[in-house]
Symmetry: C2
Subunit: 290 residues, 2 copies
């Protein structure tokens, strides 16, 4: 990978780069050091997984990618070509259950907030073995809460993820699997990297889609599974104090699909074991993946 | 620069990387491809400049860096050492007027929201010739407005800058130099990469420091300059409609210090020329830099 002449020269004169404690000639640096994804988080990403040799929800992820790219006006890259790259690398891997991460950034350039439309986007993908943990589904997990300090366009799957990182670390410290965001008005939005569902009787509640949450692919399939098993769906945000009456809680996340939640912010839910509808949803979801 | 064994191996098995449209062996990738700064914007930065061979406000920038690092709990890097690196690279440059950009990220690792405290932070710095533009100070600039869609910790100078990028691009498209953020309540917060000041009579207004704006170093020196020239200072947010009565507007930014604003959201301010106090502030600021 060679650094573009534009970055080294432009109308430029003098540039000194330092990586860690060493002065490095700018022309020896990988273009990754000039990636707008690094300077600004100026890019979008997707995470997919495969089940038994088949990528799950590829069309949906590519469609969401197209929406994210359009929302921040990254052009000059064809999502159909990206779809092909994902399939090609997955076929090369020859491993049935993998996690696929990729991002598209606006490109590498000298640091300047505004961008030049001639920039060529950067694509990076990493496919790795999926770490399965059957205990999660069997026993369920605890979740903590964290203030939703994110920006106002959480519908864009961007690389600006520092609040999510801080929320997850806070959860880990509290011995929890995930952090659930609470907005300024005290309502639940979603998890730091998951959709969140509450079951009251035969009704599944979840936050409605808006600019405040990610249009989660897993959310879509969980709601489809819920309809299939005859549950009523209500897309409405609730507050933690309404969880006193909740019967079951669950998370939806690409790499692990449905995960039962048995503890919320220190409070055990019912008998502290995965609920019956959650178990049905896990089974119903599994049918989508075979 | 060698990729850490931890990234390549860990408890890992199979990993396939793709850069642009090429499958690349993971072990050949620069650690920059695994920088948490790239995946999450998990890092902080500073921009400094020198005037005639002397770095301006180095202590203040290093102090703010320490605050940013502490706020997101990046440890394992000594700000005194960073101060030394900045000075060393600047001395190597031997150019009197430069722009100094550097960032510190939490380090390179396999992508996972939570972090390991043993991670070694990454440091990257680029020093380049400063592009001076005397026209900006002589004629002033136009600014546009943009919704403040940023996260709720704008006091941290983090790499999560996508809203700032979108705001700047919007301004550029409108023929403006800078975008001024308006929050949900309609109040001015600050510029996308600048502090913003309004002068009414002999009073300078600017947004008070809080988690909603950056503790700008230039802001601090502009207020000091304002006090020196006998202006009253009021730290209070105002709304655009209050600008009907404004006498002068100005921006403060590290690389260009004081910039007169002669047009706000399409409305010309007074006679459309830099105001008298703004000119005094430019002169007063210059005294700090010699």
């Amino acid at each position: 990978v060679k650094l573009d002449d534009e970055i080294i020269q432009k109308e430029f004169f003098m540039q000194i780069a330092m990586v860690q404690d060493k002065i490095v000639p700018v022309e020896q640096l990988d273009p990754a050091y000039f990636d707008r994804g690094l300077y600004f988080g100026d890019g979008v990403y997707e995470v997919l997984r495969s089940y038994n040799g088949k990528i799950f929800g590829l069309d949906e992820h590519i469609e969401r990618l197209a929406n994210s790219l359009a929302a921040i006006e990254i052009t000059g890259i064809d999502v159909k070509e990206i779809r092909g790259r994902v399939q090609e690398a997955f076929d090369t891997a020859k491993v049935p259950n993998v996690k696929i991460y990729f991002h598209v950034t606006r490109g590498s350039a000298l640091r300047s907030h505004g961008w030049d439309n001639s920039l060529k986007p950067n694509f990076f993908m990493l496919i790795s073995d999926l770490e399965e943990d059957p205990e999660l589904k069997a026993k369920g997990v605890a979740v903590s809460v964290y203030p939703d300090i994110r920006w106002k366009r959480c519908d864009i799957k961007s690389l600006n993820l520092l609040p999510n990182v801080l929320a997850q670390q806070d959860a880990t410290r509290k011995g929890c699997f995930e952090a659930i965001f609470l907005n300024d008005a005290g309502f639940i939005t979603e998890g730091s990297s998951s959709a969140f569902f509450q079951i009251f009787g035969r009704t599944v509640h979840t936050t409605p889609l808006s600019k405040s949450i990610l249009p989660s692919i897993t959310r879509k399939f969980v709601l489809k599974a819920a309809a299939n098993v005859g549950l009523e769906i209500v897309e409405k945000s609730i507050m933690p104090n309404q969880l006193k009456a909740v019967d079951e809680l669950l998370l939806g996340t690409t790499t692990k699909d449905v995960i039962p939640v048995v503890e919320f912010d220190g409070q055990t839910i019912r008998d502290g074991r995965p609920g019956k509808y959650t178990k049905q949803l896990i089974e119903e979801f599994r049918l989508f993946t075979v």
